[in-house]
Amino acid sequence: MSDPRPTGVRRAARQRPTSGVLLGSTAVAVASLVAAAILVLVTPSDPGPAPRPSAATGAPVSQITLGCPRRPNLPEGVSTSFGVASVVGDDLGQDGSVTGAPRLSRGEASEVVGSTERGVRLTGTDGLAQGLVAWRADTGSSTAITECPSPRASWWFTGLGASIDHESTLTIANLDSGPAVVDIKVLSPEGEIDVAETGGSGITLAPGESRTLSLVALAPQNDELAIRVHASRGRVVAAVSDRFAETPAAEPGFEWLPSQIEPARILRLSGVPAGSRFRTLLVANPSDLEAVVTVELAGPSGRVLSPDLNQLSVDPGALLAVDLSALADENVAVRLVSDLPVVAVLRSVVQGGDIVYAGPAQALTTIAGLPVIGRSTVHLTALGEAARATVTAYSVEGESVGGTTISLDAHATDTWKAPRLAAYVVVEPAKATVFGSIVYSGESAVPLRDLPTTIRIPAVRPAA
């Protein structure tokens, strides 16, 4: 077989060795330099992580469903009403409609005809779906106000009870057209209580069905409880009404419990009115490890750290009740920082035995709105830095009837009384971030939250 090598290859073998050393070093140097030059000149710096061309974007909310719970065992002397408001705000849609309040237009508030027995389902579409807030007000001998939430899969409530003096009732409703299956998990000071036997798991709700469960039936003989309502299939609206008597002989107070979506490491509880007699902080730790929780109070003058409260430790799966009655009687907010996600609420017993729950409030970023019912006080607390927020009160027709700009030092809490004429107030953060609530007649508190105006459309792309 002949050698197929190009002739030039062979010829190279006859080089004179004298020039070898010089040539060799030169060749090594030149080739290495060329290689290095290529690498240095042409290798670009890393362009960083790939851009996400189809990243999440925002879009105006075009549909929203709100569900107001029924409450079967209403105390005497209390009347129930349902209301809805389409709050005034920049860039909010004008068109659209709201079921249950057919004549509602932007800025207006309206009463919703509803049934105490069955609860109310409201659906806002198109423009009016943005900035829509609905509520249930139980007024009379006792005041209990609650916001009507949207259906979701996960609900946490803290501050329930199942005893003679403290009795809670859970209402769950399935507003969707498909069935929902709900499981309930109950935490007590002694740890988790198995409620599978007592009907706490696999609760199936047909479309449109609403059901009431008494905690006494689920987990009897427990003074303090926290629960998780989880829809393993479908979504539900859940609400807990609470009846609590500080002493066995006292007339029990009524309240709706604030809800929390998921346990969190940082919780801000707002709505502790001045003049409350007993204050109890309830913290539940659903995790498998002990949680260490730092408690800070944000009063009118700023942060208050109580040495004896500085660190709480909550057993895994257990609920801890801490008496805060010894603290100064002021309008305060509470900030909890935990190493593990926890749920919490602060219960105050006010003059006359009624109770107020300060629930976890959201840091406000866009626009928040709640109704004005009776004597309504806006509580606002600044987060880590000095903040400013505008509060405006609107009449039923959407006319501004008063307002203020609240400036807050870091960690300070301030309040503002809404005019009696007003139908609702709107809170918009102007500088930094605030959180807060509205306290009604000193007897009920509802945390402020951002009203849905835009939704995040998640990035969606085909997999490859």
Binding site: S2, L39, P44, I455, V460, R461
Partner: protein, 942 residues
């Protein structure tokens, strides 16, 4: 009894004198001689007239067929007498003196045709024919071996279907009533005549004692007449087809038509495979000419019905048995096989001689063995065999974690399909039932995969397994063979082979399932090996090398298209260098090099063209398999120099020895020109890597910008570096010893030791780490089986798999198979085409409208499956959607839904109808290139 000899002549002056002598010297003289000369261009006419007299020689029509010449001769004969015979003699057939006597001795009342034994003229001893018959495929069957010597072994008087017209003694009445068919000008008229005579109830008998010597001038193509033309093969084949179709029984005619057509196509393919395109063309045109004139067949059959008196069954025994064509086929295959084996043995012998001459003392043990020592003994003492056996064992050891059941997949590798058919259909179909449907052109690597899987009896998984398990020994073997050619020492070549073979695992290509890089790693040495022969001395070798190079290049580029532009640059560099240095070499190299590159590019058609309208440049930068850009980190200059395109390979410092040695390889003067050639390739690879390292390509299937896997250019860099070291390392010990002791010895020795240690450390790393990476064995799909069952029953019942969360975003896949398979990655519909589906999924994850379920249904989605962890909003939305019912999802934490109404798919406007034909053309191109690259060329032997 009267015998008239009828001699037909056309340009037969070479043989006529002897033929006429033969007729005159008959022991039983003929009673009359009539000659017909069909306008010969030589002096045949004069010769005949001189010997037979003016009156006995008739002038036939120029271009007259044999039948017309015979008819012309008969027309001048006096009226027939009883028992009159006509003896047909060709101008190239010379009867033995006693031929006629023996023929007449065999005459009997029921015998109409008598034929002699035909022997070859001029060899005189070889048998040509003792009567002929025809097989079912139209082959002329003599019952003799080719070139069989006449030793009387066939001397038996027997009935046959027909005898050759050369020397045929036929009753004049029969000849006049039946006659020859004018449609058969030269070939096959004897068979046809015999067949018709048999149908008319006459016997044809061959008389072995009568001998006629026949030159078979027309059949061998020695004599070209306008009647045979240049295409005598076509005329012959046409005659055979015609004879079969007009004479065979009418009942089996449709079947015979089909069989002959298919058989002819097979023959065409066979001729192409043995590189006989002329015969293939003849075959094809013969079929076309016969089949396009059905009127001739109808007329021919009508004419035969008129003369037939006995049924077909009586003739059947005279025809060749039905099994005969199959035996011929078997013989052909075994002939080819033995030819290949013989040639391989010849090559091996030649190589051994060369090896002994070149290697000198190194192969002592092998040399000392006797020549007749068996292969096993040679293997046992060969260190090369031991090294490769060790590599095979290490390959199994290195892949120990991936042995078991399930499909090898993960990283960039999708699981292989269940059979080769999947790949074939993906390659050929213009419309892919993937997701919302796709017309993306099939990638070229499907064809080699499908071919390989077919060879493995349809076991597609075996192809992938073998590739990944034995990538290292396969690449090492190729590199060893290549380096044996470019270095003078098998030590160097073996070192280089092992060092190169490790690249697929060191670079992480195997661990990440980068099938493109793995295939290129195996192919690249053979490509380089073939390319070496482009500079061969003979034109034939250069041309074959050019096709071989093109095939290797096309195979590599099919899996990693980037190889083709790189090869173009190398080719341009080589040609440019030759142009500036040596114009003669340039002229020799130009054509084979250009042919190799352009044929390779042509073999990648239609994908190479069609893909521009779909993915554009990105498809040329991506390899076979998933892009899997999440497995590609940002490349540092260090990674590039040491050949680490991803994050899964060996620690980069393991390759430092190669880089250092490659730099020092330039220092050796006597090998520098070859080392510089390797360095040019190395620099090209570096340049390509550096340019592409920061680039991102837009993936049409996802609409995202992704990093590119640069396994192939880095393989080129490392391969070139290893080649440079292997070339410079040849005889390095002697080289260092030659010089007086100085700084060169310690430096050279240190670099040499470093270079030798590097692959050894690499092997150790490979054995210990076990090629752990992204690839693993597992099931094809995690989707519940009832869904895959449903979709396999009805392709419209697609499964929408949605992963992700609100914050991280959602990724979805619409399945119409249990899962994506290797090859599907390249034909996924584009993100644009999937736009409507993206919108629906976005709605499902956000706020679905009332019509979301209906939109899903019309997109052919029956099931929605969300593997754990499931986004709560997504599951809540689906739970609450009218028309969607929860279904069982088996894996904990995952959710599934089923649409209540039956999903539908509109099947209009699918497009891609042209694609199968283009791919068929591509296959044809590959076959043709393979034929031209093949080492054997069949000479037109007859």
């Amino acid at each position: 009894m009267k015998v008239t000899a009828l001699l037909v002549s056309h340009d037969g002056a070479r043989w006529l004198p002897a033929v006429l002598d033969g007729i005159e010297s008959q022991t039983r003289p003929v009673d009359a001689v009539v000659a017909v000369d069909t306008s010969s261009s030589d002096n045949s006419g004069e010769l005949l007239r001189e010997r037979l007299g003016q009156d006995a020689v008739l002038a036939g029509q120029p271009l007259a067929p044999y039948s017309a010449a015979v008819a012309r001769g008969l027309s001048v004969l006096p009226p027939a007498v009883e028992d009159e015979w006509v003896w047909l003699i060709h101008d190239d057939s010379n009867p033995a003196p006693d031929a006629l006597e023996h023929l007449l001795a065999a005459a009997a009342p029921d015998i109409a045709v008598l034929g002699p034994k035909l022997r070859e003229w001029p060899s005189l001893r070889r048998l040509l024919e003792l009567g002929v018959t025809i097989s079912g495929t139209g082959r002329r069957e003599t019952g003799l071996e080719r070139g069989e010597y006449d030793q009387g072994q066939h001397d038996r008087k027997r009935d046959v279907l027909a005898v050759n017209t050369a020397g045929m003694l036929v009753r004049r009445t029969v000849l006049e009533t039946i006659g020859f068919d004018e449609r058969l000008p030269i070939f096959g008229n004897d068979l046809d005549f015999g067949w018709r005579a048999a149908r008319a109830g006459h016997r044809t008998v061959v008389v072995p004692d009568a001998v006629v010597f026949h030159a078979e001038a027309a059949h061998r193509g020695v004599r070209r007449t306008p009647l045979t033309g240049k295409r005598f093969h076509r005329v012959e084949r046409e005659a055979a087809l015609y004879t079969l179709l007009v004479n065979g029984p009418g009942r089996g005619l449709p079947w015979r038509l089909l069989r002959l057509l298919l058989g002819s196509l097979v023959r065409v393919l066979g001729f192409l495979l043995v590189r006989a395109p002329g015969e293939a063309y003849d075959e094809l045109s013969a079929v076309a000419r016969v089949y396009l004139r059905p009127d001739r067949i109808i007329a021919g059959r009508a004419a035969r019905r008129r003369t037939a008196t006995v049924p077909h069954a009586r003739v059947k025994q005279l025809l060749a048995p039905a099994w005969l064509p199959y035996r011929h086929g078997l013989d052909f295959v075994s002939d080819v096989a033995s030819a290949v084996v013989n040639q391989a043995a010849d090559l091996t012998a030649a190589r051994r001689e060369r090896t002994l001459a070149e290697t000198g003392p190194v192969d002592e043990d092998t040399q000392n063995l006797d020549d007749d020592t068996g292969l096993v003994a040679r293997l046992v003492v060969s260190p090369v065999a031991w090294v490769f056996a060790g590599l095979m064992l290490l390959a199994l050891l290195g892949m120990r974690g991936h042995i078991g059941s399930g499909f090898l997949s993960g990283g960039a590798l999708l699981p292989p399909p269940d059979g080769a058919g999947y790949w074939w259909s993906r390659a050929f179909e213009g419309w892919h039932d993937l997701g919302v449907g796709s017309t993306v052109p099939s990638p070229p690597y499907l064809l080699p995969l499908a071919g390989a899987a077919t060879l493995m009896l349809g076991k597609a998984w075996l192809v992938v397994d073998l590739l990944f398990f034995f990538a290292v020994p396969a690449a090492a073997w190729g590199a060893f063979r290549f380096l044996r050619r470019v270095t003078d020492s098998w030590h160097s070549a073996l070192w280089g082979g092992v060092a190169y073979g490790l690249l697929p695992v060191l670079s992480g290509a195997v661990q990440q399932g980068r099938i493109g890089t793995v295939v290129v790693a195996v192919v690249l040495p053979w490509l380089a090996h073939a390319a070496l022969f482009l500079a061969s001395e003979t034109q034939d070798r250069r041309s074959r090398a050019s096709y071989r190079t093109a095939l290797w290049l096309a195979l590599g580029a099919a899996f990693a298209p980037l190889l083709l532009p790189l090869a173009v640059v190398v080719a341009a560099g080589v040609l440019g260098w030759c142009y500036s240095q040596n114009r003669g070499a340039f002229d020799e190299l130009r054509r084979p090099v250009l042919a190799a590159v352009s044929v390779a590019a042509a073999l990648l058609l239609p994908w190479a063209l069609l893909t521009w309208s779909h993915d554009g440049i990105s498809s040329w930068l991506l390899e076979a398999g998933r892009p899997a850009s999440e497995l590609i980190g940002s490349l540092s200059a260090w990674d590039i120099v040491l050949g680490r395109p991803g994050e899964s390979g060996a620690p980069a410092w393991l390759s430092v020895g190669i880089a250092v040695a490659a730099a020092f390889a330039l220092a050796r003067t006597d090998t520098r020109s070859r080392v510089l050639a390797a360095w040019s390739v190395l620099l090209l690879g570096l340049l390509a890597t550096a340019v592409l390292a920061g680039a991102r390509v837009s993936l049409a299937a996802t609409g995202t910008e992704e990093r590119i896997w640069l396994g192939v250019p880095l393989l080129l860099v490392q391969g070139a570096a290893i080649a440079a070291v292997a070339i410079a390392g040849t005889g390095i010990r002697e080289q260092l010893a030659e010089h007086a002791f100085g700084w060169r010895q310690p430096v050279g020795a240190a670099v040499a030791v470093l270079a030798v240690v590097t692959p050894a450390v690499g092997l150790a790393w490979w054995a210990f780490s076990g090629a752990d990476g992204e690839i693993d064995r597992g099931p094809v799909s995690a989707v519940p089986e009832y869904m895959t069952d449903a979709v396999s029953r009805d392709v419209a019942q697609g499964i929408l798999v949605v992963r992700g969360s609100q914050s991280a975003g959602f990724r979805y896949l619409l399945l119409r198979e249990p899962g994506l398979r290797l090859g599907d990655d390249a034909v996924l519909p584009s993100a644009n085409d999937q736009g409507p589906l993206s919108e629906v999924v976005g709605d499902l994850a956000g706020v679905p409208g009332e019509s979301a379920a209906e939109s899903l249904r019309t997109l052919g989605v029956q099931f929605v499956y969300a593997p754990a962890p499931v986004d709560q909003q997504l599951s809540g939305n689906l739970d609450s959607l009218a028309g969607v019912a929860p279904a069982s999802a088996l894996a904990p934490g995952s959710r599934a839904w089923r649409l209540e109404d039956e999903a539908t798919l509109s099947d209009e406007d699918r497009g891609g109808a042209l694609h199968p034909w283009l791919v068929a053309l591509q296959c044809l191109g590959v076959v043709v290139a393979g034929v031209f690259a093949a080492p054997t060329r069949r000479r037109a032997e007859r």
